[in-house]
């Protein structure tokens, strides 16, 4: 079965399965063969499950033959970032010392995908403990970007984004607490959706920081993200896709914008032009700057992280070097003051979103992410704060945001942009993303690997 077939959107694969032009077993076998051919280059899996996947795919085919197909995900190959618990399968959070951690029950995300008939291909590589956006993992090795193996797929859901971009899975689940779904989607040419906080259950997801943890999807199209979100939530997100975007108001926060490599800014300008051509009205808005938000973000983040990881900080202190265990020294008063500030930021975001339907921005200020080194922009080497400046605010605010490809810097370097909305307005985010993809063909380009 051809590589081109595996690179088709989930929805198209789903239709082929429904019409029985292919079987779930054939699709799983093709995904296994493709993975075996390119995984040595990408290092995208921590646990690859080919035999289990084939067994599950055969069961899906039997169910379909008996008229028991469960919906559009039935028979679709999917992967899970290794933060989602899988009953009977090691769930490491990217830390080798947790290899013996074999959950007895599935995470809610795992359960829902299984209930929808998806075929689990394996557990994806990630930044250790889902921390950072480098696409590095000291225990399981660096992940590689399928567009150019010399670069990182970003992170922390780097393995997931690489798999979707390279056609190894049609859907991968990631987690996002600073941009970990959207940044890898951006540099891998995928679609990364981080829904409203709590909309997709984080039950059974290895915690990083409770109040900013989100489960999100990596797919090849916005329509596929809508299909996946329906399985994950029971909501209706596909009906809105066909609605016209003419008249939608898109806000640009110019007090935040304009940090990035030149190609990021050029692509963003072209995206705004295209959205204007589609009938969207562009409006200037003002939101809190990342510089204002970072102290509150880090206080909340590290305090919650310290609590979530305390047992392992105690039993495996060597895994938390560099002073990370000082997270347990953050005072309750500091934590609550940061939460006060968070409320004020929420009010300011609400004021901005009262004027517009969506906010639009770049996703990631970097075109190609090198391992262990940020690029120099305007004479200054970027920092982690810079790398997260467009994505992190939506984690702290818990608002839905999506990243999709808006152009290319070079033939092997996709560049993304981000759309965000008020809480629980995922349908509107997906509607605009789908309209953009319907009017462009960036998402139809694939890495040559």
């Amino acid at each position: 079965m051809s590589r081109e077939l595996l690179l088709r959107p989930l929805r198209e694969l789903s239709r082929l399965l429904e019409r029985r032009e292919i079987s779930a077993e054939e699709l799983a076998r093709a995904a296994i063969e493709r993975t075996e051919a390119i995984e040595k280059d990408l290092n995208s899996y921590i646990t690859f499950l080919p035999e289990r996947a084939l067994e599950e795919a055969r069961a899906r085919d039997r169910e379909r033959a008996q008229g028991e197909a469960k919906g559009p995900l039935h028979g679709i190959p999917v992967s899970l970032k290794d933060v989602f618990d899988t009953a009977g399968i090691a769930s490491t959070a990217g830390a080798r010392f947790l290899e013996g951690r074999i959950p007895r029950t599935d995470a809610e995300v795992t359960r829902r995908l299984s209930r929808a008939g998806a075929v689990l291909m394996g557990k994806s590589n990630l930044n250790k403990f889902a921390g950072g956006e480098s696409g590095e993992n000291p225990d399981y090795g660096d992940m590689k970007n399928p567009w150019n193996l010399n670069f990182s797929p970003s992170g922390s859901s780097g393995g997931s984004a690489a798999q979707v971009a390279a056609g190894m899975a049609a859907l991968s689940m990631g987690s996002d607490n600073g941009g970990s779904v959207r940044n890898p989607a951006c540099v891998c040419g995928a679609v990364g959706l981080k829904p409203t906080h709590g909309l997709v259950s984080t039950d059974g997801m290895f915690p990083r920081a409770y109040s900013v943890d989100h489960a999100g999807t990596l797919t090849r199209t916005a329509e596929d993200a809508a299909v996946a979100l329906e399985a994950l939530t029971d909501g209706d997100y596909t009906s809105a896709l066909s609605r016209p975007v003419k008249g939608l108001k898109l806000g640009i926060a110019r007090n935040v914008f304009r940090l990035g490599e030149p190609e990021v800014l050029r692509v963003f300008d072209s995206v705004v032009k295209k959205l204007s051509e589609l009938g969207c009205e562009i409006v200037d808005v003002e939101v809190p700057t990342p510089e204002e938000m970072m102290p509150a973000m880090y206080t909340i983040f590290f305090c919650e992280w310290g609590v979530a990881h305390e047992p392992w900080m105690r039993s495996h202190p060597e895994e938390y070097d560099g002073g990370a265990r000082a997270a347990l020294l953050i005072s309750a008063a500091d934590y609550l003051k940061a939460q006060q500030q968070r409320r004020l930021f929420q009010n300011r975001y609400a004021q901005a979103l009262a004027k517009v339907d969506l906010l639009v921005s770049p996703t990631y200020p970097i075109v190609r992410r090198e391992h262990r080194r940020f690029p120099v922009v305007e004479g200054r080497r970027l920092t982690l704060d810079d790398a997260l400046r467009y994505t992190m605010p939506y984690d702290l605010m818990g608002l839905p945001a999506i990243s999709l490809t808006g152009g290319f810097a070079e033939s092997d370097a996709p560049v993304g942009f981000q759309l965000a909305s008020a809480a629980f307005q995922e349908a509107k985010v997906l509607q605009a993303a789908h309209a953009y993809q319907s009017a462009t063909d960036w998402h139809e380009r694939h890495p040559s690997i």
Binding site: G322, R325, Q340
Partner: protein, 80 residues
């Protein structure tokens, strides 16, 4: 160091520069005491510099706004 002294050393300031200065003044032994007394963790050899750097970076710098209810929420539905 007693717990109260350790807490006072952390509450030295409402602005980041003052907090940073307070953290910079911490000796390795003070840092070890804080880890034992406040975090309840046995310090690792050589961990002091990292802990001090963390405190320099991540002390929350802003004063309280008493009129604002913190954003933390409690979901009364039980979770496993």
């Amino acid at each position: 160091m007693r717990r109260r002294e350790a807490i006072l050393s952390l509450l030295g300031a409402t602005g980041l520069p003052r907090a940073a200065a307070a953290a910079q003044d911490l000796s390795p032994e003070t840092v070890r005491q804080m880890m034992r007394t406040l975090a309840g963790l046995e310090p690792m050899p050589g961990e002091e510099a990292g802990v001090r750097a963390f405190l320099l970076s991540y002390r929350y710098p802003h004063p309280s706004d008493p009129g604002v209810e913190p954003a933390s929420t409690f979901d009364p539905r039980p979770k496993r």
